[in-house]
Subunit: 245 residues, 2 copies
Amino acid sequence: MTAQELSGDQRLPIYQRLADVLRRDVTEGRLRPGDRVPSDNELSQTYQLAPGTVRKALDLLVSEELFERFHGRGTFVRRPSFDSSLFRFFRFRSSDGTSAVPEGRILRRVTENVPSYIARQLKIEEGASAISMSRLRLIDDVPIIAEEIWLPLDRFEAFLDIPTGEVGNLLYPVYDEACGQLIAKAEETLTAEAASEQTARLLRIETGTPVMMIDRLAKGYDGTPMEWRRSRGRADLFHYHTEIR
Amino acid sequence: MTAQELSGDQRLPIYQRLADVLRRDVTEGRLRPGDRVPSDNELSQTYQLAPGTVRKALDLLVSEELFERFHGRGTFVRRPSFDSSLFRFFRFRSSDGTSAVPEGRILRRVTENVPSYIARQLKIEEGASAISMSRLRLIDDVPIIAEEIWLPLDRFEAFLDIPTGEVGNLLYPVYDEACGQLIAKAEETLTAEAASEQTARLLRIETGTPVMMIDRLAKGYDGTPMEWRRSRGRADLFHYHTEIR
DNA sequence: GAGTGGTCTAGACCACTAT
DNA sequence: TAGTGGTCTAGACCACTCT
């Protein structure tokens, strides 16, 4: 590569502008998860920057958990492998003691008019048509979590062509392969409530016992809302741990 | 200050060792919350280091949220002002719309033999004597959270001399003033359960309705466990928000 | 051995804050 | 105006990985 100009607002620090360029390379698909990022040397040559400045930009992106660096190997776009993150909250152990991805069973998948609350979250038109799913997650055939999922129809139409029986235990890889939609991050909100009749039936617990409710809005690299999900799980299996300072 | 040697394992990077020295200055009380840390220049002179190395150590401590830096003013030891953090989880609004510190009422304060589970957490002897408190937190006279608190007797004996009526709405400043004990960080574990009779009475809700239970182990700068606390709050007021990547 | 990132130096210049 | 941190340069040397 030959020397290039750094785009963006010239008043911003150089390392910020370089980070912006690289961030955009990811959000716009020129760099994909797992890809190697040009080395410090290459970057300092193409943009005619001191190595320290390049390093500062990369350190920033590492701290954002967008990149990871490996001494002697290179810098790479981090794979967002956070499907386990919800389940980190639950004590998920198979009977053999190993922790595993719970089984996912799609119980229902239809296109429906999206409720206005969810439309607002997904930033689609109120009353527009969207994909609606019910899904049950089990370990050793014991139901742990019941999920309601909504997907915007325009991005995920191709998902409907895949028979529900052939969808594996993880949805996000399927979103990528079938629809070219990458999930990069998410926001979750956590509450507890008393189990409704329907939830109780699905989770095989008594109506009225406490369940944890986790709402997740999953987004792409550029922050576009992609999937809305409400998960309800047995509170007695739930424990969320956090450090505060 | 004159030139000094950096202590610690000589195989560690210099910036790590400098950070260790400064961290210890905080944990051992030579630098207290709000104090100004020596400037980059001073540090690079006293330890005979390049400014970039000093900066790297300080950046590290900033990223740990131990220090904060202000352009043109200096570097300071961060005040751990996280008493609000538990309550960040709850939708705490006064009737006038402003968010405020909830009122804290100590209902009971005695010395008792500490249960073994809590003794293990606080790293004190099983069956040793400790301070045990019940406390209620209210907003506009509405009870929101019921707390059980345990304190090691050796560190907090002086706390018993303060009449419960004179303890304000925040405990940690009192721990500091009365006992010289600074709380710097904490770990919390979050679960939901059905309200017991006693909890229901305190929170003025129905027995069996879901409550959030938050266990907190508060620690000093050096990680010494200081206070164990179990808080139970109305689940309908509770919502915890988090970002995942 | 070639290439990568990690540490460290020794400055320059700038922007912000206090007085 | 003096002192602070923020940015940036232009290297050197080292430790690690791959082949």
